[in-house]
Symmetry: D2
Subunit: 225 residues, 4 copies
């Protein structure tokens, strides 16, 4: 039986991924700052502020104790502040970097420490349009998401030859959530269905190591790019 | 039942893709300049020089007559010449552009003409490391493969909103073939297994249109990049 | 005294570049299919269809005979066809590849053959927005311009260590021409002034080889990107 | 008379830039954590830890009081830690992000606040190979430099149409410093001369706004890429 640890709530994506993986017979742990809303999922819900190294360590230790070293770790958290550049609050910008990038480092390092001795595993990161394009009035999110991509690319170069599959997903479009008023105006399938994103994560996870992807862009058919 | 048309022999990839698709209940046609070596596959083998518009048209007409408009068309042919820049032969350079890029246009246009009235379909292109990086002593292949990627990206923007899924695959590494002496020295799974590349093509084909990829890089875990 | 050969009319850019270089004491030759309109420039006007290898060779021979091997060669020609993908004419697409890419190869090879024995020189290519982004309804131009960029990048890798400076310029916006009705609506300096583009070409040419650029993007301050 | 403020010591680049700008009649202020080593330059030396918003504010206020709002602000500081991923120290990683990215944000915001009311200015950022490629054993530097590039790109989109020129320089190679033992083994001009980098900064600063670059790569002719 395979084990997955998903960190961050991720706009509904984590829940969809947890459900899909559970259906594939994974044992799934889901760690978030506020795990209460995760309780209905077929997953072990853990409380974790991923910007805090000790809490990240505790989370991995808890999963390891129950099920062993996870086979798949997904970093799926982010924070963003936006607005005219001169009005951005320093603390919000700092938090954007902390949550979107530094916490991703902490989670990846905790994962790699455990996977390397075993000699296998997968570490996935969720990116956004801002991972590859810095938009006006959104410098902090670009900073955080570019940084996370730099982390993922560096890790892909360092860890792939050690049999750890590192991948970065560029989610280029809005993720559909229940009651999202934008869904209708964007047209049929005009927003990403989280269960379909999850399906691509699983397929990349299932790739044979002779043909790994380190990055995948996903966008709705109607999205401009 | 779905129908696929694969154009080009593609270093063993076309054969693997034909086999995989046949196993998934596709009707498969495989068109190449020399179709004799394709005869043992579970596929309709057609003779086609894809740089010749009339032959491309005939090939599509033959498939359409038997099975209707294909659901998936894969352009999988290329030609390359290489060497010190000043020693390159003009005719070889021209042929590199003709086979690697112009023929891809002809095939894509023949596909789009048929898919647009139906309102669905997928057109896939096989790229290489040279699609995104121009190597020394290999300018012509970079020209051809960059051009094919430009075609694919432009088509993704134009045809995706019309429900035609366009994707480009960057095969970054050597594809393993029977008797390839490089396989051993590159280490276990150090070359791409064509059947594993084929699996990723199928998964991208199966993507829901709310979360399409237009490009996918595939490389062996041991490959430098 | 330095010598420059500019190939192609290039939307007014070639004329501006010729003027700027002449003012810097270059001897300038300007080759185009229709050189009559170039007669008023301080440059030697030559007739050359750059898609024809013999004419390219003759052009270089003529310049060489008068002034020796050029120090700077600029490829500044392109052709484009556009429209709905299924309506594109094969001959126009072929011509787009021939003029925008293959002729660039011919010119670059003729230049490299002469510069390599001397051990110095510069070969510059003019790109466009389409060099790095494939737009809808413009697949052929994307093919041609992506290909030219692949050529330039490959040559930069191959020829830089032999003291030949290869550079590619991404002109991302409309170039202002006399009587262009779009100029007013785009706002002050909203279109690229060709003499300002030319100035950047000269600066890249003047770069010390310890700090060469192989690519430069230029766009108006008001341009969306 | 124009005014420049350079923040960070930047591997000798800041000193070269200060000298070049002084020679062009700029008034130059140079702010660094340890300004003592800057005392011999033709520049006002200021003490500033750019990760501290108050110190950044003080630095800008000091320059503004003496000379008015700077015309050009260059962010030229970075910090890096490297090594096997699992051995990286959290504090060093955090510091890499703080110095290489967050401080760049603070400096850029302090600059933009003053330049926007005046309606003109230029903000430049110094990047590295790691800005566009995440190397193995160097994830933190990739995170910091990718983030800085995201900041620069976002600002280019937001501030260019307000007449503020934002540019990012990818320094792809070692910068030559006195007594650097690597210089000889890399060959003649095999490392970037800081005064030549500085010259490209000045040229981009002098670009007319009808033809601005937002990014420039600079590398030695002998550098692999």
């Amino acid at each position: 039986m395979e084990t997955a640890l998903i960190v961050g709530a991720g706009s509904g994506l984590s829940a969809s991924l947890a459900r899909l993986l559970a259906g594939e017979n994974f044992r799934v742990a889901l760690a978030a700052r506020n795990p209460d809303k995760l309780s209905s999922l077929q997953a072990l819900a853990l409380r974790c502020d991923a910007t805090d190294a000790a809490q990240v360590e505790d989370t991995f230790a808890a999963v390891e104790k129950m099920w062993g070293v996870p086979d798949l770790v997904v970093y799926n958290a982010s924070f963003r502040t936006r607005g005219p550049f001169t009005e951005l609050k320093h603390d919000d910008v700092r938090k954007t970097l902390e949550v979107s990038a530094f916490a991703g480092f902490l989670v990846a390092q905790a994962a790699a420490k455990r996977m390397l001795p075993r000699g296998s595993g997968a570490i996935f990161f969720t990116g956004a349009s801002a991972s590859v394009k810095g938009y006006a009035q959104s410098a902090p999110f670009a900073m955080g998401k570019f940084a996370l991509r730099g982390l993922a690319q560096s890790l892909a170069r360092e860890l792939s030859p050690k049999n750890i599959h590192v991948a970065h997903f560029v989610i280029d479009g809005g993720i559909r959530a229940g009651g999202d008023s934008r869904a209708a105006e964007r047209g049929e399938d005009g927003m990403l269905l989280p269960e379909e994103i999850a399906r691509s994560y699983l397929q990349v996870y299932r790739q044979h190591r002779s043909a790994w992807s380190w990055e995948l862009e996903l966008r709705p058919w109607l999205e401009k790019f």
